[in-house]
């Protein structure tokens, strides 16, 4: 990024002061003039600071891109050389580092009287035949300007992504980053062609900045000070402008029915959160989430309203073919379904406001060496000791329309079971369900990666397949089309019989059957949250209720004076590819 072609320090004896004193030039000075070039120390420091920040930014960004939508295959191809783990913090801090370097370099160049080094006039040399070495100088200047544009574009689009804007901004950010990745190699090559190895080595050979009439003292010091100040201002603006959701104490509770018309909600100031880069969502990947909350001294009530163009209820349904029952969804074996899947909303609560959703997101194909690898190759959720994240997950067909919200958590990674060690079952590191039980299960036998390509084993069949199919509504086979209101993409246990070839023979080929079974009820810690949801006009509306304090190790209590931070992620008929929410919402519970 930083230009290190600086003729004044390259041939220091050619400076004005030295020209005036030319007659006094000593043999030693002439020797130095012919010596390999040096660069002024400010350029060296800022160049390497920029290079390190850019490389860390690119490496971590490419890892993030492995579960993005722009060039995921290319990013995954680079996966073996990409870092793994909690990389959001690295990415944002290196981005801030790049912002520091840009600010500092601008000041340094102007203060140091170095603007001529990158003047556009040099580009004309490229048109002169036989310009030789000077042509490479011009090419380098041109490339430096390309780098400046790339950095400005990456910084601008990165800020937009951080604020929750998706769509084309994601594409521009990702493509610009890939161009910057290629630029690094081109930059080194063209400087080598300009001046050989010494042109590259000069970045390790410091000289003092030559003071010309255009230069002012303390260029590097002031540049650094301005850079630090700019970063401090940016971080300060980010921190002070983060959303705060105040939970007021109210008399009276809302009716938990998924209709946000209760008078009590008018007393709650809503917070709107932009989320982006989720699967589906009409192709934009974006969803705006509006959040309200109140408490009555005993319970805390939340109201969520989020954008989702379709009501999706199908969670890994099955279809009967001539040779048996088949899974309609793709990638179910690697827990990465993004077609025949239900809508979901995940809400995380943590005491930590840090990046990566409270440092709970660890990316990579093997982010925990020595432990089972993630089936989908994207990473794990877990946290460090003492940083438990309480996770509420509303699941449209797994109790989401039966009054339940799943109570889960992120904690330190759990010891895998033998099946998980063997890769036969999905190990989820630190992401698990609260103790107790849920009332849903799956109506097919689990298969390891590579499975679900043929007929699958079935546990139960409907007593009345016609009634079951009627309950599914009119849309049975299109995952991108909205399901009917009131469609049931689950079966109650009492509506089913255990699988038998005789019962199966009575069901015709082409029948579609839900993949979810409901039996019994929620129990234990896992039963802490109730809710109700309705989809209307391209939005889901969800109301939830939970006790302010549960006392569970796996929950976060809502306590006046003890702030919490919240992240929300929208799943539009996808298993894991939820939208991203970068800036946690501060939660203040009023007494």
């Amino acid at each position: 990024m930083v230009d290190f072609v600086h003729t004044r320090d390259d041939h220091s004896a050619a400076s004005p002061q030295r020209s005036e004193a030319g007659e006094r030039r000593t043999a030693a000075e002439r020797g130095r003039q012919n010596a390999p070039p040096r660069s002024d120390v400010g350029t060296i420091v800022l160049h390497w600071a920029t290079a390190l920040a850019l490389i860390v930014c690119l490496l971590t960004g490419l890892r993030v891109g492995t579960f993005g939508y722009v060039t995921p295959r290319f990013d995954m191809w680079l996966s073996p050389i990409l870092p793994q783990g909690e990389l959001w913090t690295w990415h944002f801090f290196s981005g801030l580092g790049l912002f520091f370097c840009t600010s500092a370099y601008l000041i340094y160049v102007y203060r140091g009287g170095l603007t001529a080094r990158n003047t556009f006039k040099k580009l004309r040399i490229m048109l002169i035949p036989g310009a030789g070495k000077m042509r490479w100088d011009a090419i380098n200047v041109g490339l430096h300007w390309v780098a400046y544009v790339l950095v400005v574009m990456m910084t601008t689009t990165g800020i937009l992504l951080y604020l929750g804007f998706g769509g084309w901004w994601v594409w521009i950010h990702a493509i610009t980053a890939l161009v910057a990745f290629g630029y690094i190699f081109l930059h080194v090559l063209t400087h080598y062609l300009y001046g050989g190895w010494w042109q590259l080595f000069r970045l390790f050979r410091p000289a003092k900045l030559v003071m010309t009439r255009a230069a002012r003292p303390y260029a590097l010091l002031l540049g650094t000070a301005v850079g630090v100040a700019m970063v401090a201002v940016a971080a300060g603006i980010d921190w002070t402008s983060r959303d705060t959701l105040v939970i007021p104490h109210v008399n009276g509770a809302p009716k938990i029915d998924g209709v946000l018309d209760d008078e009590v909600w008018t007393r709650a100031r809503p917070v709107s959160v932009r989320t982006e880069q989720g699967a589906n969502l009409g192709g934009t990947g974006e969803s705006l989430v509006e959040i309200r909350a109140v408490h009555d001294g005993i319970n805390v009530y939340f109201a969520f309203r989020w954008e989702d163009p379709t009501r999706s209820m199908k969670r890994t349904p099955l279809i009967k073919l001539a040779d048996g029952w088949h899974m309609l969804a793709h990638n179910s074996d690697i827990a990465n379904v993004a077609d025949f899947y239900e809508d979901k909303l995940a809400i995380g609560f943590s005491r930590s406001p840090t990046f990566g959703s409270g440092e709970s997101t660890y990316m990579g194909t093997d982010p925990l060496p020595g432990m089972p690898k993630p089936l989908h190759g994207m990473g794990y959720h877990y946290v460090a000791e003492g940083n438990v994240m309480d996770v509420w997950q509303w699941k449209a067909s797994r109790g989401g329309h039966l009054g339940r919200v799943d109570d889960q958590y992120f904690d330190t990674p759990r010891e895998p079971t033998p099946d998980e060690w063997a890769g036969k079952a999905r190990w989820q590191a630190g992401y698990w369900n609260d103790p107790g039980r849920a009332f849903y299960s799956y109506n097919y036998k689990s298969e390891p990666p590579g499975g679900y390509r043929g007929p699958v084993g079935i546990y139960r069949l409907p007593k009345d397949w016609k009634a079951m199919e009627a309950a599914l509504g009119s849309n049975r086979l299109d995952p991108n089309k909205s399901d009917d209101e009131g469609a049931h993409w689950w079966m109650m246990e009492e509506e089913t019989v255990p699988y038998s070839p005789e019962a199966d023979a009575a069901i015709p080929v082409g029948t579609v059957m839900p993949g979810v079974l409901i039996s019994g009820d929620y129990e234990g810690d896992r039963a802490d949250i109730h809710g109700a949801a309705k989809w209307k006009n391209g939005h889901w509306h969800l109301e939830t209720v939970r006790a302010l304090r549960t006392g569970s190790h796996y929950d976060q209590d809502f306590i006046p004076g003890r702030d919490l931070y919240m992240w929300v992620n929208v799943f539009d008929h996808t298993q894991i590819r939820h939208t991203r929410h970068m800036r946690g919402v501060r939660i203040v519970t009023e007494p």
Binding site: T26, V41, Q84, G85, P206, K208
Partner: protein, 66 residues
């Protein structure tokens, strides 16, 4: 003085190289246990910058001593 500048240049390049090594070890190391590596990288980078500044000054003094 030229010898001193040369020594400092070599020292700063070594410090910088070590800092880069520690930085990437921290980046590629288990994220839960990378703080010591990261702090080592930061300290080495600061040392490299100081060394570069001193090396540049040594070169300047050499100029006036001719």
């Amino acid at each position: 003085m030229l010898k001193q500048q040369s020594t400092l240049t070599g020292l700063s390049a070594t410090l910088f190289g070590a800092a880069v090594l520690f930085l990437f070890l921290a980046l590629y190391h288990d994220a839960d246990r990378n703080a010591p590596l990261l702090w080592s990288a930061v300290l080495l980078l600061i040392a490299a910058v100081v060394s570069w500044l001193v090396a540049a000054s040594a070169g300047e003094r050499d100029h006036f001593s001719d």
